[in-house]
Each structure stands twice: as C-alpha cells, then as structure tokens.
C-alpha cells in the first residue's frame, strides 16, 4: 500500500518523504499521511487509511438485526448515538415500524447531547493540535458531565447502544431533566468562557484563518458533509434539508462559515461552525426536554418488534446528520433474520479525500490544523 502511494508522489532529489503517522499525536487515531515536503512546506499529502479496519459492515451481515446495534457504536465511538440512530431508522424504514413520539424526542435529546460531546472533543483536540493544552481539558471536563448524563440515561459512557429498532432502550431517569437543564445553563456560560480563552486568541486565529481554504463548490465536489461542508459556506444540514425524527418541531439555526477572520472555508470557519453548533444543539435539547413532557411516559418502544426480527426483502437508505457529517446506512434485506448487506457512509471517510487536493502549499503545522479541522476520527474512516 505504501509503495502504491509513494508511486503517486512525484519524487526528485529535493523533497523529503515524511510518514506522518500511523502513530502520531495529531492524526486522531491510526491514520497514515504520506507527506512529501520541501522543508516545512508540503508538496503533497496522501492519506493512507485502513489501519483501523474492523469489517463492521461485514459483521452486520452475520449478526441479527438487533445484534448489530452494539457494533454501530464502534463505527464512531466519539459520537456513538448517531450510528445507533442511523441504523435504527434504516431498519424501521424497511419494516415500516412507527416509532413512538416519546422515543423520537429521546432520540433527539440523546443525539444532540452526543453532538455537543463530540464537538467538544473535536474543538478540544483542535486546540491541542495548535499547541494549547488547557482548552482541551476544559472541553473534556464538559464532555465528562455529558457522559455522566448519558450514563444515567443508558448505562454507558462511550458505546451507548441506547437506540433500538422501534424506539429507545430506556425512558428518562428521575431527576434527569433538571440535571440536564442545569448542565445546559452551565454549558452556555462555558461556551462564552471558551471563546474568550481560545477562540478569539490572536495566535489561534492566525494559525487557522486563511489556512487550507476549501471553497463551497469544491467542498460539494468532494462530498464533504456536516460542519466541514457548512464551514465552506454551504447551508446544508440534513436536520433542516431532509428532516427526520422530530426535528421539524425544533427551532434552531444552522451555523454557516462566513469567513470570520479570513476567507470562507478556512480552518477557522470549520472550527467556529462547531462551536456555534454546540450552542444550537443546546437549544434543541432544551426544546426537546420541554416537548417530551407532552408525550406519555413509558411509551418508548414501538409495539410488536419481534426479538427475532425477520425483515422482508428490500433495500433502504437512511441519512442522519452526524457530528462528523452525513451518516448514511444503506441496508439490504433478503427476508431472513440477518441483513444481506449493511453499508455505511461516514463523514470522516469522505473528508479524507480532500486532503490530497488541499494540502499542496501548506506547512507541516498547517496539515495538523487541517486534519484537526476536518474532525476525522479513525474508526469512522475505516469502520
């Protein structure tokens, strides 16, 4: 594989080939970037993915319909609610299961909390890649509170396995609503403090503004999605564009990159999109916590979802707006109790494609910023 990629790199005597990974502090997992540099300036960076391949899609063909749910957690372990939801929606579409309203609210609450948690990791590691360590720990601190909340909700901190085909696993625990609201109040203050601590720091802005600019049309061409796409100024959010679940009921904005300190689509725009999105997610959770009180308690699973589910032959595609972009599940059933094919589309994998196009002319330190701003998570790339 490495030889294959090296062949794609034009070699002459001036350039140095740098193996940026697979074990490197800022590749966010095991990814390898084969970088051709001229001093500090990058001529080309070619991602070499596949180090974390666990054949999760193939596992989906051998476990039952319900049994695949815990595996979806492992597709994106930083934001495990989204693959949960995507897979659940896909199977529900195939079977024509109607999910109760309360379960839908619970899904919205859990995924939006998870989105906040995931973005906290994303922006935290981004600040750490730029060299500031303290903001990252502050982000992790807030994420821990979210983890505690989700732990109280579903019993796990990382691989939640909360969603089920036809609903969710648990209803709200006692007192959870107040805890969450208290956290969100604190979180809104935290966002202000975080912005003052690092977002508007002049060094930080200079490191990110005008770096690795991805113009909107290019972002669409390369199939970027989620905050990476919106950072390039393209207003496309699945929650608004093709709403699923109860999202039409919520009022929220979609933050779009505006070129705050540089050109539209630079690293800073992608960063600031994420910070602003956390505020919007916090709004959604508040609204969902209000609306959920109208739904009858305990009504969290669709009736008559067999334990040994058999799905009629057919195929479907579900798309959810994950923290890392669009997460799609393409599921083909052949009438048995196992899927015939489960295909996953993840945001990080498509984001890897653009690195080769955008990296020429960057500096080594900028490549770190680019990888961080694309918010790649290695297991999501390789699955």
């Amino acid at each position: 594989m490495e030889k294959l990629i090296l062949r794609r790199v034009d070699r002459n005597n001036e350039e140095m080939i740098l193996n940026f990974g697979p074990q490197h502090p800022s590749t966010h997992g095991v990814i390898n970037f084969i970088v051709e540099t001229d001093g500090e300036v990058i001529r080309k960076a070619v991602p070499d993915v596949g180090y974390l391949h666990r054949s999760i899609e193939k596992i989906g063909e051998s476990t039952g319909w319900h049994g695949f749910m815990p595996y979806t957690d492992r597709i994106d372990y930083v934001a495990a609610m989204f693959p949960n939801e995507g897979y659940a929606i896909a199977v529900e579409k195939l079977c024509g299961i109607q999910v109760p309203k309360r379960a839908q609210y619970l899904r919205a609450i859990s995924t939006e909390l998870c989105r906040i948690a995931s973005h906290l990791v994303s922006i935290g590691t981004m600040t750490m890649d730029i060299g500031a360590f303290t903001p990252m720990i502050h982000g992790i601190r807030e994420r821990e509170t979210i983890n505690d909340l989700i732990e109280a909700l579903c019993g796990a901190r990382l691989t939640y396995n909360y969603h089920r085909i036809g609903g969710v696993a648990f209803d709200l625990p006692e007192g959870w609503r107040d805890q969450t609201l208290a956290f969100l109040d604190h979180f809104d203050k935290f966002l202000v403090e975080f912005d003052r601590l690092i977002s508007f720091n002049e060094i930080y802005i200079r490191r990110l503004a005008d770096v690795a600019v991805i113009p909107g049309p290019m972002a669409i061409d390369y199939g970027l999605s989620g905050p990476n796409l919106r950072g390039s100024g393209v207003d496309f959010d699945l929650r608004k564009a093709m709403p699923y679940g109860v999202y039409p009921e919520f009022e929220f904005d979609v933050p779009v990159g505006k070129g705050m300190f540089g050109q539209v689509g630079d690293c800073y725009d992608r960063y600031i999109c994420r910070t602003r999105e956390m505020g919007e997610s916090s709004k959604i959770v508040r609204q969902a916590l209000d609306l959920i009180q109208q739904a009858p308690e305990g009504d969290i699973m669709a009736p008559k979802v067999s334990r040994n589910l058999k799905v009629e032959a057919g195929e479907t595609l579900s798309r959810v707006e994950s923290a890392r972009g669009e997460m799609a599940f393409y599921v083909v059933a052949d009438g048995t109790n196992k899927a015939w094919r489960v295909r996953t589309r993840t945001g990080s994998f498509t984001a890897m494609g653009i690195i080769e196009a955008i990296s020429p002319g960057l500096m080594v330190a900028d490549l770190v910023a680019l990888i961080a701003s694309l918010d790649v998570v290695a297991p999501e790339i390789d699955r």
């Binding site: 039952g64 319900h66 601190r141 505690d148 019993g155």
Partner: protein
C-alpha cells in the same frame, strides 16, 4: 500590510491574551472537577455510578428460567448455557452450564432486556483486572451441582432476587487478581458446546503455566 493592520494585530494580541490569561488564572482559584480514583474518593466508585450502569453481568440462578433468551440475544456469543434433564426427576430440567465470558462481553445490555424474570442483570461492578483473562469467565452454574430451572408462577409480577451486585461481588472477592488461570473440571459436556461459543466452554488452553 497597512499601519492600521500592524497596530491592530498588536492590540488584538494584547487584548486576547489579557482575557485568556485571566481565565487560566481564575481556574487556579476554583475547585478541580476531578476526583482521585480509586482510593481518595468519598465513596467507592461503584457506589457513585448511576443505577443503570452496565457493568459486569450477574445471574441470580434462583430465578433463572433457563429460557436461553439471553444467549440468543447476545451478538458476540459470550454466553454458554446448557440444559439437561434431571436424571432423578425427568420433568425437572437442570442448567448444567451457565458461563459468561466477561472479558468478551461488550456490555451492550441486549441480554438483560429479554430476561423474563430479571435474573440476568448488569451490576455496577467494573473493577476486576485479572492477570489471566480466563479468570473473567464466570460460571454461574456449578457443573458438579447444576441448578434446576425456575418455574414462573402464573400472574407473578415479582421475582425475589438477591441484592444486585452481591453475587458478582462474592465471585470477585473469591478470586485474587493474579490467580492462575482456571482449569475447568470436569470436562464440558461435548454435545452442548457450539463451535461459535467454544472459547467459553472449552478447557483452559495450556498456554498459561499451571501452578497446580
């Protein structure tokens, strides 16, 4: 670069550092948000976890109906359950084997949901690092003394269960962290062991040195 930009960048640098430094400084006077795991927290960590926490699985054999729903629900086959007829009483069925490989378990909670009596439950126990991973295979049924399946009475809504966590705690206390790997005797019933669940059912591989 205009003079305005030149001066402006310095001004912005100073003001943004001013705010940043004041925030890091203010954190010196706040209480840290971490607790000192494991021995300096007010309570043991397992008691601070929420009740839904998915830790080690625990089976109360006194209310196990032997329905094997948990085994079927498990996506990774970390359980092995074998039922046999009681030679003394042909109507009574015995669970001769109920093994859960906690090292393999991914704590998804799918086995807990179908259990009709709530016999299998996640506990809040999670601290059990073992030198030999085979020591994390918990045998809920002693092969020498298999337990009879529980008969659910009609209309029963309550099943008397041992306090959650007490059984798994006893099992963990009984084994030292550096105990040699368990060798299971007598040999497993050959017919029952499905190939998929073999690791939990076959005797210990002789890779680890046996001290016995």
């Amino acid at each position: 670069m205009t003079l305005n930009e030149y001066a402006g960048s310095m001004q912005k640098t100073v003001s943004s550092f001013w705010h940043g430094l004041s925030i890091t400084m203010s954190h010196l006077f706040r209480r840290p948000s971490t607790v000192q795991y494991p021995d300096r927290s007010a309570l043991p960590v397992r008691d601070m976890l929420p009740p839904r926490y998915r830790g080690f699985l625990e089976v109360d054999v006194s209310i196990c109906t032997g329905c094997q729903a948990c085994e079927r629900a498990c996506p990774i086959a970390c359980m092995q359950i074998t039922l046999e007829k009681d030679p003394a009483n042909p109507k009574q069925r015995l669970v001769t084997q109920f093994d859960i490989d906690e090292a393999k378990c991914m704590y998804c909670g799918l086995c807990v949901e179908p259990c009709p009596t709530g016999s299998i439950q996640h506990t809040r126990e999670f601290e059990a690092s073992m030198r030999n991973i085979r020591n994390l295979v918990f045998r809920w049924s002693d092969p020498a003394r298999p337990f009879p399946v529980y008969k659910v009475e009609k209309g029963a809504e309550y099943f008397p269960r041992a306090p959650l966590g007490s059984l798994v705690r006893a099992k963990l206390d009984a084994i030292r962290w550096d105990a040699p790997a368990t060798r299971y005797l007598p040999p497993e019933p050959p017919a029952a062991a499905a190939p998929a669940a073999a690791p939990a059912a076959t005797p210990a591989a002789p890779t680890t040195p046996e001290t016995k």
